[in-house]
């Protein structure tokens, strides 16, 4: 009896090991399954990469220098910027002339200097005859009046309206109408959202 039990103990141990092995087998299966799935995904990545390469090549062909050059010659007509279009520093940008000024932004007439020409020489006299009508178009007199009125009136009230005007002018010039409309719509939507939320 004891002998039999002892013998069975051996078999029991084997059985136990077998049982555990069987219990663990699904783990191994799972690992194998995951691994094969990984391989599949890797293959897919490779395929996609090859595809990306192919598409990139196609894009590169379509956007080749030759093609761009031809498009430029046919329809765009861009040319290289000239030296005067490059600015080296902020100071140069600030002193840049030629940008259209906002209407009414700096409606200060330029200070005009009277030109003193030596009397007796005939040439400067002829030259002076020409610019004569120019000062009449500019209105230094109006400026003088405006300034006196500003001084007599209350200047702080004047400033904000003028500033608003300037801003409006700049807005009009810088932002396209569609952009402005977009901004307004977005603002309206935000405002409406803000009302409904609380």
């Amino acid at each position: 009896m004891l002998m039999a039990a002892r013998k069975l103990q051996g078999i029991g141990l084997v059985l136990l090991v077998l049982l555990f092995a069987m219990a663990l087998y699904p783990v191994s299966l799972k690992v194998a399954a995951t691994r094969s799935e990984l391989t599949r995904i890797e293959r897919k990545i490779d395929r996609t990469q090859a595809n990306i390469r192919y598409l990139e090549s196609e894009l590169a062909v379509r956007a080749s220098m030759r093609q761009l050059e031809q498009w430029n010659a046919d329809s765009f007509g861009y040319s290289a910027p000239s030296a005067s279009q490059y600015l080296a520093s902020e100071r140069q940008l600030a002193s840049l002339d030629g940008l259209p000024r906002a209407r009414g932004a700096n409606e200060v007439a330029p200070v005009l200097m009277a030109m003193v020409s030596p009397v007796g020489t005939p040439e400067p006299a002829a030259a002076a005859a020409k610019p004569a009508p120019a000062p009449s178009t500019v209105k230094p007199v109006v400026l003088a009046q405006a300034e006196t009125s500003v001084q007599s009136d209350s200047p702080p009230r004047m400033a904000p309206t003028r500033r608003r005007e300037q801003l409006k002018m700049i807005e009009d010039q810088l932002l396209a109408e569609s952009t402005l409309a977009d901004l307004k719509r977005a603002a309206a939507r935000e405002a409406a959202g803000g009302k409904t939320a609380p």
């Binding site: 490779d46 192919y54 990139e56 000239s82």
Partner: protein
């Protein structure tokens, strides 16, 4: 007749029988052990697979990712050549089901550029052949839609040059087996196909945008002037990197046509030209270097042609007065240059050309490099003619390299088509003194601001350079009306960074060049346009408030009789 059969007598004893039984059992045992061993082996292998199965996925995936031939990219990573899985269309005539005539008609509809007879010949041929090696996906779909089992569409590795003819001669092309033949493809073939290195793209020093600009501007000029060809190169003066290199006429490496051998030649490294007056700054530089020209104001007789050894050295437009050094360069006087070279002497002149490596093939990684035509024997005459670029024929790359040495402070460096990146530029060797280089910068700038190169003066870019219009040698002497017009320049001259050389082979004088063939009217405008467009791409921005200081030289120039 009686046959006598003798039965073998049973002589075995019981002991022997047992012996046999034992051997049988032993053999069975062995067999069983063998089976068990096999079983064990297989199960071990299975367990091994289950536990350490790493080889299945990743290794071949990594192999698939490495292209069969490495990509070639420019310095900014723009692909110039890459290998893709292309489509090809193949026909197996024995498998064809439809009527051949009908199939040929259908194929002609898809590929109108090939005659019907050719398709018919292929369809009736004895063995499978290609209908198209490089087919577009649309064409493949169309052929597939015919619906014959005789067609198949194997995907093949093919070399694609996305930028078409851009830098075609420099890149080269591959043969049907995928081996490089010319250009970079040829000279770097081993590196491009080696399994260890082909995963990384080969980075060239070329900038595709600059290359595009140079090609289009030079191409326009060559077309407008009805020239037979042209060449252009842009070189970094401090490192020797080639930023652009073009040769015209050109070809499309994606679609090779037999018989365009002339178009496949790289004129920059493989064609020899007598480059004419562009040599003058080099010889004057050597004269300043060696102390032959001590003062810029020293005058030389240019009133009459110089007769030497039965040969007369003339100026193309005689000034009829004595010229100083800046005037010599500005008016490109052969007579004065020859006199200065004569004073310099034959040994010094030869030493100059040797140190500029005009006696060897140009130094670059390409295989197609020409050996210069070096004077057979250096006499007094060849010293004088080579000083203004006659009697010696070099490649445009030689000259560009020499100009780089002339303006960069005097150090000659070999050219390279590979991007240096962080690597130190090659050591090089000194050809001119730094002070000579500084003086030459002033002189070259003067030629553009006041001399023959006026049309190359891109505003704000401080271009300096020298024109050269050399008559081409023909049967029985030089031909007066076939010129090689060259302009070798550097910019910005106050701190030179790039050398640009453009050359037009046999331009015709027409409306585009005011009826002139000379370099000042044909190539100089090309250089101006290229500099204006490509300068900002190369990091050189125009600035009209800067320039090289030439104030010490301007008083020496004769201007309408009042400059004195």
């Amino acid at each position: 007749m009686n046959t006598l059969v003798v039965r073998p007598a049973r002589v075995r004893t019981a002991g022997v029988r047992q012996q046999i039984l034992l051997t049988a059992q032993q053999r069975l045992m062995m067999l069983m052990l063998l089976f068990m061993a096999a079983f064990l082996l297989i199960s071990m292998r299975l367990v091994f697979f289950a536990l350490f199965d790493t080889a299945s996925g990743s290794s071949d995936a990594a192999a698939a990712f490495i292209p069969a031939r490495a990509d070639i990219v420019d310095r900014n990573g723009v692909p110039l050549a890459r290998t893709i899985d292309g489509y090809s269309i193949r026909v197996v005539p024995s498998k064809l089901l439809n009527n051949r005539q009908y199939l040929a008609d259908e194929l002609v509809k898809i590929f109108p550029d090939t005659p019907r007879e050719e398709f018919l010949a292929r369809l009736n041929g004895p063995r499978p052949t290609y209908i198209r090696r490089r087919a577009l996906p649309d064409q493949v779909a169309a052929v597939n839609a015919i619906g014959d089992v005789g067609f198949d569409f194997p995907r093949e590795k093919e070399r694609l040059y996305p930028q078409l003819s851009l830098a075609a001669q420099l890149l080269g092309f591959t043969d049907a087996e995928g081996h490089g033949v010319t250009g970079v493809e040829g000279s770097f073939d081993k590196q491009l196909t080696d399994k260890a290195t082909r995963g990384e793209p080969l980075v060239l020093s070329i900038d595709a945008r600059v290359q595009g600009v140079l090609e289009s501007e030079l191409g326009n000029a060559v077309t407008n002037l009805e020239a037979i060809g042209g060449a252009g190169i842009i070189l970094d003066v401090h490192t020797g990197e080639v930023l652009a290199m073009t040769s015209l006429p050109t070809y499309n490496p994606n679609k090779l046509i037999a018989g365009d051998a002339a178009a496949r030649r790289n004129a920059v490294t493989y064609n020899l030209y007598e480059l004419g007056s562009t040599f003058k700054p080099l010889s004057i530089g050597a004269a300043i270097d060696n102390g032959v020209v001590t003062s810029m104001a020293k005058r030389y007789d240019a009133t009459k042609p110089l007769a030497i050894a039965g040969f007369k050295i003339r100026d193309s437009h005689n000034m009829g007065r004595w010229l100083n050094v800046p005037e010599t360069l500005i008016h490109s006087s052969n007579i004065v240059t020859a006199q200065i070279a004569d004073q310099l002497g034959k040994e010094k002149m030869e030493a100059l050309f040797r140190s500029l490596e005009f006696n060897k093939r140009p130094e670059i990684e390409l295989k197609e490099r020409a050996f210069p035509l070096w004077p057979k024997e250096w006499g007094r005459l060849s010293t004088m003619t080579t000083a203004y670029g006659h009697g010696i024929a070099v490649t445009p790359l030689h000259l560009a390299n020499a100009y780089a040495a002339l303006v960069n402070g005097g150090i000659w460096r070999p050219a390279t088509v590979l991007k240096l990146g962080d690597k130190a530029p090659p050591q090089g060797h000194r050809v001119f003194k730094a002070s000579t280089s500084a003086r030459m910068r002033q002189l070259l700038r003067l030629i553009v601001s006041d001399g023959t190169g006026r049309q190359a003066d891109a505003p704000g870019f401080r271009v300096g350079g020298k024109t050269g219009s050399a008559e081409k040698p023909g049967a029985g002497g030089y031909r007066r009306h076939s010129l090689v017009s060259t302009f070798a320049a550097a910019f910005p001259m106050d701190n030179p960074r790039y050398v640009i050389l453009a050359m037009i082979d046999e331009p015709k004088g027409n409306a585009f060049s005011s009826g002139q063939r000379t370099a000042g009217y044909t190539v100089a405008p090309v250089v101006k346009k290229v500099v204006m467009r490509a300068g900002p791409m190369l990091g050189v921005f125009p600035d009209e408030s800067r320039d090289v200081d030439v104030s010490e030289l301007t008083p020496l120039l004769w201007k309408n009789g009042e400059g004195e």
